[in-house]
Symmetry: C2
Subunit: 563 residues, 2 copies
């Protein structure tokens, strides 16, 4: 189970900190060949600068690190966490269910072998990044993301686009989230917020009917290779606990889950049997495994459930439909809403962020921006303030299916009602008529809402609405969303973003084919398509043939005029 | 060489006209199964209405028509054209080159066998749809497109969203184009304009190094199957003349070309040898074959060529680079600009529309919205008025590579400078970093510019920048653009557009899987993805398994509350 990620002519490089000189922020540096021109007979070589690419692949792309999936990744942040002196290592895991799984010998063959005992905040200590930020403390995590976000800026002469202090302020004021469970020290710090690069999330996970642990770990690494910034494990099938351990131990990006899924498995799918106690134990179990953020559908209120009755597609969120059913069966407010402060108290002890799930998101164009959706958004706005009071980092999930002309209202309302907390949307899908191509219907919406201010885009794969994604679907989904996020970064004017576009276009114009491939989001695919075209010569290709190559003609014009 | 297009549970139906009762407008009607519910023990079946889908597949999808590619399609419009009494059948073809190809016995094996002699306007007669429209005449073509555009409106109780008179007015005032060469009577009338459904164009064609006639004809039919509204034959290789004949005779949608490509072949690729006479003969040759619109790069002015020097990627339009080189080599205004009135005089005799080519469109994000691009747009605004004076229908081509925040300016300027002539854009591509996925980078831009008012979107395939598209690329490109166009129709509020989304979403909610597939843009793909997911039961799928199906839970809630 060795694993390595390679990109052509790319080098793993590390930038170190100023406040914290020991931190090492990994980036991918892509070399380019020089441009060639002629002055008369003389061949002139003009060097092309290396391009830095934001790198989510962690140690997998560092040839100096020998990774064994059975042992997990190096624990990058452990020293920083322990060094702050405000956490303690527990003598045993706190969750009853967690202990039960640990002691079940029939699971030995499935189990990750090197499980460490969990950390938790010492009594009375506030250990979340938000707590530090509010106290004016800049953590190594904050400097780390500042360096990451400044990608290519120094080369442009902009040294301090994002400062560590800016990161701190954004976190303190709730506009950004730095997901960083103290029990997931393997994850590299990253930041989710409107004033940073747009991020993307990948969903993986098995269901009752498909796929095993190996396959899910493989998908997780694969997602990090192609650029997934965070990873949600949405498993609902067998051995959720063990699958999650394997994923977290090998995941260099923050991991999210929807704990209600596992809670429901614990009551064998009987929604009415769900209780706060079962859910609470599940939260603790997952906090101590190292999940970095939880989707919690606490925005569902008893009196709002009926609003979905008017819809064409009712409730399409799994968590939303579970909690709605629970509210109706018991005819009372959901335990997620009632115990939201208790939830936050638990999350704060591990620095797990809350992602307020949009249980009433629209599932069709017809249902977009309706009363049900916006009623839930109002509740989320109330909850986010309660989370912040407990120093819990929070963001807000959003739709779903929304036609283009209704996207803007979603963003503006979210900013207003949720007090600038980061928005994290699923697409949105802009038409319902293209199952099999929903990575495209949703990338269209995602690019727009990202431009308008959404901080993180949850990917959608070609299999959405039809089946669970396989590896190829994950790749296509991630690339589609890297496109949407990057297009949004360009439109928002991030100074470092366009460096890569410019370099790739210059390579294209100068017929540096290899550079064009290597700078692209998916060098392997670009090159294989090019090869399939039976390329003939360095200075034109099969698209136009030699006489019709615009770029060749255009370059000839330039040199003709010089003479 | 028989050919038929089939879609599951779809029926070819025809609507007839009111002004012209003999016209028959083909549509695809998709049947749906009834919804099933229970009142106690009793099973209740609720019928679901049939859905009408705009159909670009022409007679290929009519089982009553026996198509032999060797004989070409039925000549639908010939009677209407001849019936107007203002055209004459020529005793021989007028183009010198055309006659030369006709008389070349070595080409016999390649040649389409049933070439008819061409029609041309009688002396002094104005026979374009624009000429009729200006005189207040509603042609059968105009009523035909009105019926087509009203798709699903009658079922919604809106009987006259688009009237034949509205179509006439839009054409008369230049806001819409109905491409309808009198020598392409096989094509079904369609309309391109901001106040109509957004259309998409497919590019096919060989280059010096690839593919033969059979393959191109197959791609043409394939494009019509998936929904291409018009088709451009961009061939630059051998036997352009013969390839085009085969395509036109078998194409139920308007066909466009870029005549300068063939003119350049005639001078063996030596740009400096191009002359007005060669170009003129090419225009006539293609007018008489039946090309419905020509891309003409007459917007390139001698004094503007240098503006592209400042660019990262220079000139990326093939026609643009050819004409720029010609201007520089001869140090004079291009013959396209100088002879623009002569060009219009020729086009008017056959009702060929002019698509003013954007030879200076930006080829990278860095070059978007620059001086070169906008200088050309100003010239186009001047030329479009000259075309209209000659009753030649005209539209304007647009970029290209544009980041999202610069898209709006493109549309607004085009409307202003080009006097409301329809805009026809290539994407735009919103980031340069994803070769291999440019159908997605460009669908993002296309959806936005379509919403803002672009009338027709030129598709981009996954192979863009890398190689010529194969059949699978054509399919993916067309579907990506159907998505963009339809998303724009929804956002613009076309009343009939959302019918299909609503029907598909209702089918999804009611677990009518087959209906969901059949209503989708690509039923085959949707179904094959679904099957790959090892589906188990009618009421859930492998995505969530039985306990986590939100739609099932949501439906249970509704029925629970009824009891």
């Amino acid at each position: 189970m060795k694993q390595q990620i390679k990109f052509p002519r790319s080098q793993k490089v590390y930038m170190s900190g100023t406040l914290y000189p020991h931190i090492r922020v990994g980036m991918r540096k892509v070399e380019q060949v020089p441009g060639v021109s002629f002055e008369g007979e003389e061949k002139i070589l003009t060097p092309n600068a290396e391009v830095y690419i934001y790198d989510t692949s962690g140690p997998f792309s560092d040839p100096a690190v020998d990774i064994d999936l059975k042992k997990g990744l190096p624990r990058l942040r452990e020293e920083w966490i322990v060094g702050r002196g405000d956490v303690e290592r527990l003598p045993k895991i706190s969750s009853e269910y967690g202990r039960m799984r640990r002691d079940d010998a029939t699971l030995d063959s499935l189990r990750f072998e090197h499980i460490a005992l969990p950390y938790r905040a010492r009594k009375g200590k506030a250990i979340t990044q938000m707590a530090y930020a509010k106290q004016g403390i800049i953590t190594p995590e904050m400097e780390y993301v500042a360096i990451r976000e400044n990608m290519n800026c120094e080369e442009l002469g902009i040294e301090t686009y994002i400062t560590p202090e800016f990161v701190r302020k954004e976190i303190a004021e709730g506009r950004a989230v730095l997901p960083a469970n103290i029990n997931h020290p393997e994850a590299e710090p990253m930041i989710i917020g409107r004033n940073f690069l747009v991020k993307i999330n990948t969903n993986i996970g098995n269901s009752a009917t498909t796929s095993g642990i190996d396959e899910e770990v493989e998908k997780a690494v694969w997602s990090c290779k192609w650029g997934g910034d965070t990873l949600m494990d949405l498993s609902t099938g067998a051995n959720i606990h063990e699958t999650r351990e394997w994923i977290i131990r090998n995941c260099p990006v923050p991991v999210g889950t929807v704990p209600i899924y596992q809670a429901l498995e614990k009551v064998n799918g009987a929604v009415e049997d769900l209780t706060w106690e079962i859910y609470r134990d599940t939260l603790i179990e997952q906090c101590e495994q190292g999940v970095d953020y939880f989707t919690i559908h606490a925005g569902i209120r008893r009196h709002n459930v009926h609003l979905a009755d008017k819809r064409l597609c009712g409730i399409v969120s799994r968590g939303g439909s579970i909690m709605s059913k629970w509210c109706l069966v018991h005819d009372r407010e959901s335990f997620l809403y009632e115990h939201f402060d208790d939830i936050c108290d638990i999350l704060a002890q591990y620095d797990v962020a809350v992602s307020l799930g949009d249980g009433l998101r629209p599932g069709s164009i017809r249902d977009a921006n309706d009363e049900a959706q916006f009623a839930e958004l109002d509740t989320m706005g109330e909850l986010v303030l309660r989370a912040w009071e407990k120093n819990v980092q929070a963001f807000i999930e959003g739709p779903g299916h929304v036609p283009m002309h209704k996207i803007k209202e979603n963003m503006e309302r979210q900013i207003e009602k949720c007090h600038n907390a980061p928005f994290y949307t699923l697409g949105p899908i802009v038409t319902d008529i293209a199952p099999g191509y929903d990575h495209i219907t949703s990338a269209i919406g995602a690019a727009q809402i990202g431009w308008l201010g959404t901080a993180m885009l949850c990917y959608v794969t070609p299999k959405e609405h039809l089946a669970l994604p396989d590896k190829e679907d994950v790749r296509v989904g991630v690339i589609s969303y890297k496109i949407a996020a990057h297009a949004a970064d360009l439109a928002k004017g991030h100074p470092g973003a366009q460096v890569r576009d410019n370099a790739l276009s210059k390579a294209r114009y100068e017929f540096r084919w290899k550079d064009q491939f290597d700078l692209s989001l998916d060098p392997e695919r670009a090159q294989s398509y090019f090869r399939a075209g039976h390329h003939i010569d360095g200075e034109y290709c099969t698209m136009c043939g030699p006489n019709f190559c615009a770029m060749r003609l255009s370059r000839e014009l330039k040199s003709a005029k010089k003479e």
